[in-house]
Structures are given as C-alpha cells and as structure tokens.
C-alpha cells in the first residue's frame, strides 16, 4: 500500500502540473499569445497521467490532444510543451508544427498527426521493430477519443495489433462528445468495451476521473501487455471539462453529465482522496500547486525570451537527403 501511495502522490502531482500548464496555455490563448488552437485535457488528467506513469524508458507513447498529463508523466519537459505552443525554434518541432502536435520520435514519444487513429498503427510499427531487433518487454500506448473509434484507422490499427499480438495498450477516453457530437451519433454499441472481443483483445473498463482506479487499471493493462498478454483495450468513462478547444464554450454538453459521478473534476476527486487518506494536507497541496505554477511560469518566461523562427534561416527542405531535394526552394 505504501507503493500505491507513492504512485498516487506522483500521479497527482503530474495531474496538477498538467492542469496548471493547460491553464497557462488557456490564458496565453486569451491574451492572443498563441496562434491557432489550444486544446486542453481538463477533466482527463487522471486517465492520461496513468498512461504515462507506467511506461518505461524504451516504451513508446502516442498521445492525443488531451494528454498533457500523460506526456509529462512519460517524461516530456514542460519547456517542450511551451516551446511547441509558442512556436519556438528551440523546441522539438522548431515552429514547424505546433500545439499538441509534438513529440520526440527517437525517444519513443510519437508526435501526433491530426488525422485521428493514424498513430495507432505507427505504435504497432515501433513494437514490430522491437520484435525484429529482439528487444523484449517493451510496451506501446496509444490514446484515442471515443469519436476516434469511428475511424477506419482505429479499426485497422487495433486489428493489426491483435493479429501481430503486439503489446499495445489502446486507451479510449470516452468523454461523451467528439467536438459537439454526442455518443448517440458516434456509435451504437451499449458499451465501447464490447468492441474488445470482436478484435480478440483484452478489455478493461475504468472510471476515468478516479485516479486510484485509473492507476490500478492502467497498471494491470500495461503489465499484461508487457508480459505477453497481447493488445489491451482500455475504455475510460469521463467528461471533458472544457471546450473542444479554447475557442469553444462547450454549451452543447448536456448538464446531466455534470451531475454524474464521472462528471466530477478528477483533480478535485484526487485531492479529496489525498486529504481523506491524510496522504497530504491542505498546506502541502498548496505548496505543490505553487511549485507547479512556478515551473510553468518559469518555462514560459524562458520561452518568451527566446527568438522566434527566422524564415530566412530555414532550409525549406522536406527531405533528409538534402541532395534529393527538388529545385523549388533555390
């Protein structure tokens, strides 16, 4: 139980950091300091952090737009996130791509493309490569929303993993909406968990706003995948507590959901649990919050002093083989 407590505390701090980072992006967006969209994970941090937390070095993770917590837990430095949102040339995406489209592929952290579902098979490919190279015991995790389960790419990717018996953990965050589209217009099964058997993969359900539950289920799923159990499909029930992006007031979210147990803010739920278990007191929580805020503010301050991309320094070449570049950008 000590072990679980440690994990919980670590996870909580990850959630907190993600929340504060997201809040900062929201405020930078309102201040017109960010170009384009801002996409937050508010309400989904418990699930997301649990994904990142049980992955090891050598594992691979393909997060999506609401995975700030999972990214940090997987090891993303706060400054990578800030640099990407602000388009800093010093960030991993160098101003070429932005916001949630970030990663460090050689570190197992895959940068999402926007097209939903597309990253699942990419994770499969990494795991197939591990098999070719004789690397054992690694796991790949991919996130998807319940809306993303309607894509052909989701289906092909999960089926491919099942055929290859890959250690894929595919986590579906069912937050009841895809942008404005409710589940009734997205799928017709009683429970997304019912999909598992049709792929021949293991299925897990979890209340996505209960950090303890997320940690238990995700640990189990990751362990099973790591130990040869093949693909694991995790279905989490939760609610997005923000707009689709920061431009969206999410007025379409049915208020009935907010009254549900799973509609409660996972961060609050975790805090209450911490206090109840006396794993932390109010003062400690405040202290952690200040630390996280400081970390985020510091990163933002650094990045805001960094140069912006200089188009005349750009080589404008899409190929690694420079000599094969066509003559357009001469």
């Amino acid at each position: 139980m000590v072990h679980f407590r440690d994990t919980y505390l670590k996870a909580y701090q990850g959630m907190l950091l993600a929340r504060i980072l997201d809040d900062k992006f929201a405020s930078l967006y309102r201040g017109a300091k960010i170009h384009g969209g801002v996409f937050l994970g508010r309400g989904q941090e418990a699930l997301s952090v649990a994904i990142g937390l049980f992955l090891n070095k050598g594992d691979v993770f393909a997060p999506l737009i609401r995975d700030a917590a999972g990214r940090l837990a997987f090891g993303e430095p706060v400054i990578d996130a800030v640099r990407t949102y602000l388009g800093s040339p010093l960030g991993p995406m160098r101003g070429r791509d932005g916001n949630v489209h970030r990663g460090r592929p050689t570190e197992g952290y895959l940068p999402m493309v926007s097209h939903l579902g597309a990253m699942i098979s990419v994770v499969n490919g990494v795991l197939m490569a591990h098999r070719f190279k004789g690397i054992k015991g690694t796991v790949g995790a991919a996130s998807i929303g319940e809306g993303g389960t309607s894509t052909g790419a989701f289906h092909e990717g999960l089926n491919q993993a099942a055929v290859e018996k890959l250690p894929l953990v595919l986590v579906v965050a069912n937050n009841q909406y895809a942008y404005s589209t409710p589940n009734s217009r997205q799928f017709a099964c009683n429970d997304l968990l019912d999909k598992a058997i049709g792929y021949g993969v293991a299925g897990h359900a979890v209340e996505g706003n209960d950090l303890g539950a997320c940690l238990r289920v995700m640990r189990e799923a990751v362990d099973k995948a790591r130990n040869g159990g093949g693909p694991q499909l995790v279905i989490a029930n939760l609610l997005r507590l923000c707009g689709h992006g920061e431009h969206d007031d999410s007025h379409y979210i049915d208020s009935k959901y907010k009254a549900e147990q799973f509609g409660r803010d996972c961060l609050k739920v975790a805090e209450e649990y911490l206090l109840q278990e006396k794993w932390a007191d109010a003062k400690t929580l405040n202290c952690w919050r200040d630390e996280a805020t400081h970390k985020v503010e510091e990163a933002v301050a650094i990045v805001q002093r960094e140069p912006t991309p200089d188009p005349y320094q750009e080589n404008w070449t899409a190929l690694a083989s420079k000599h094969l570049n066509d003559g357009f950008n001469k």
């Binding site: 932005g98 493309v113 404005s180």
Partner: protein
C-alpha cells in the same frame, strides 16, 4: 448590411435546402452545432432532419453521399478541414468520380473543403488540395475567390450533375465581405478578369486573387498595368480566357497557394506554353507555396506561401525579362 464569404456559404446552403428537397447536409458537427466554422449555423434548426451529424468516418461519409446521389439526392458534404479529405480520398476519386463514366449514372455530390492556410494552422489544418482532385478524371473543382462566387458557385455545385470539390478558403471566411449576395453569376468553368491591365497577366485563384490584386494596385503606381485573372474553377480550367489575356499582355505569372510540384500553376503554364507559345513575350513564371508541409509559426507561414510581397517581386522580375 454586409455579408462575409463564410456567411455566403451558409446562405447558399440555406437556399439550396429551401429550394430543392433533394438537398441534405452531412458532416461532423454540422447539425445543431452549426459546424466547426459555423458554415451551417442554424440550418439544422431551419431544416429539421436534413442537416445530419456524421461520425468521424470520412470514408463512409463520402460513400453514403454517393449512395444517396445514386438515389437522386443532392448531398452537400462538409469536411471539417480539407486536410481530412485525405482519408476519404479513395471514395472521392475512385467511387464518386468514376461512377458516371462507368455506369452512365451521375453522381451529384458537393464536397466542401475548408482549405488553405491561416496563421497557426500548421501542417494539418492548412492544406490546399485542389490539384489532387483535379488530376483525377470525373470531378469539377471550384476555388471561389469572392463572396459572390462563394455563394453562386456553391449553388451551382449543388445543381451540377457531377461530383464537385468545393475549395473554400478559410482565410477568406471572415476577411472578405460584400455588400449583398449576387442575383446572377458567370457560368461555371469561366474565368474572370478580376482587374484589367495591359502589361502582364497574373493568373490566380482563391485567396491568391486578393494578393494578386494588391500587387496590381502596387505595380500600377510604378506604371505597370497588371491584368489579374481569377480562374474560379480550376477544373475545368478556362484556357481561353487565360490565353486571351496573355495575348493582350504577352507576360504570364501564375500564382497558387498549394505545393509547388504539378498543380494549377504547372497546368496553366503547360497549356499556355503549348497552345499559346507565340503569345508570350517572356518566359511564363510561377509562384507556389514552398515544397514542405505548411508551417505552424506565423513567421514561417508568411514565407511559405506566396504573398503580395513575393508576388510583386516576381512580377517586377518578369516585367524586366
């Protein structure tokens, strides 16, 4: 009263729904929510049951449109961004576009593609895919540059018996305004002289028309009279109007926002060079986006695509050739 390019698109859809019971709209979040850009705002409320939210299944969305069209309906499909049409690519080019040629049964679907770059859009929310669709036989590809054309061409897209790829430019959505909606329009497939001039022809389409017009304005102060041709539809491509303009000016610069290899500018130049070689007093020139994905940061984005500045430079260069 003034109306934006985006509102014109909404109004055209409202009119199509009102006038023709065969019309319906299908796409992600197009229903009660009114679409990611609000191009279908209130339409679900005004036309109950005819504006339908789709799952995130672009391939099946187009497939269903084809089936409905076979049954005589006139579906309008909204892709949330043009970029996501790449997952519906097969249905568009191999099923919709080939149907009439294979079976003699028309496939009147309209696919709306919110296209083109905006600052901060990045590689996957900025693409201009007109060339992909124009390359395949069987599609009409429209690229309206004005509020009036956005309105009247969308109505015509719905009326045409063939699948139409309607490339509406996101940058123009809010930036472009007109006093009123048009009551008449040029025929589909005809280019428009957006500004007459005798020294040089700039052929453009969609958002680049406005960059070209700005250049024409600027170069006029330097004594160069630029004629701007707005292609309006890039397939079919109105070679006659382009050629007639080049016959007047002797000089051709073709500008597009898409990737540089192939595409509209290559097609225009190939046509003029092969069919109107003698009209040219100087080598025809072109300007496109750079040969990389569309960058996220505004600094990079502004240089990636042609702008009035880079077009003016190319135009000044051409006038000296």
């Amino acid at each position: 009263m003034s109306i934006t390019y985006l509102e014109a698109i909404r109004e055209a859809q409202a009119k199509a729904l009102a006038d023709d019971p065969r019309v319906f709209i299908y796409g992600q979040d197009v229903g009660k929510f009114g679409g990611a850009f609000k191009a279908t705002k209130n339409l679900a409320q005004e036309f109950p049951g005819r504006v339908i939210d789709a799952p995130i299944s672009e391939d099946a969305i187009i497939g269903a449109a084809i089936g409905a069209a076979i049954e005589g309906m006139r579906p309008i499909i909204e892709m949330q961004f043009a970029d996501f049409s790449t997952v519906a690519f097969n249905q568009i080019v191999n099923n919709a576009a080939a149907l009439f040629w294979r079976t003699n049964v028309p496939c009147p679907i309209t696919v709306r593609l919110p296209s083109g770059g905006t600052s901060g859009g990045g590689p996957y929310h900025s693409q201009s895919l007109e060339a992909l669709y124009a390359h395949y036989p069987g599609l009409v590809v429209m690229t309206p540059a004005t509020v009036e054309d956005a309105y009247s061409m969308l109505l015509e897209a719905v009326a045409i018996d063939d699948p139409v790829i309607f490339c509406e430019h996101k940058y123009l959505y809010y930036h472009l305004k007109a006093e009123r909606l048009p009551t008449e329009a040029m025929p589909v497939g005809k280019a428009r002289i957006a500004r007459p001039g005798r020294d040089m022809t700039i052929v453009a389409y969609s958002a680049m028309v406005h960059e070209a017009l700005a250049v024409a304005e600027e170069l006029a102060t330097e004594g160069t009279e630029v004629e701007v041709v707005d292609l309006r539809t890039i397939k079919p491509l109105d070679t006659d109007t382009v050629m007639a303009s080049v016959a007047r000016t002797g000089r051709l610069l073709c500008v597009g926002e898409a990737f540089p290899w192939g595409g509209v500018t290559a097609e225009v130049i190939a046509r003029v060079a092969s069919e109107g070689f003698g009209l040219l007093d100087a080598p025809p020139q072109r300007l496109n986006a750079k040969d990389t994905p569309v960058p996220y940061h505004p600094n990079l984005w502004a240089v990636h695509r042609p702008t009035a500045r880079s077009i003016a430079a190319a135009a000044r260069n051409l006038i000296r050739l």
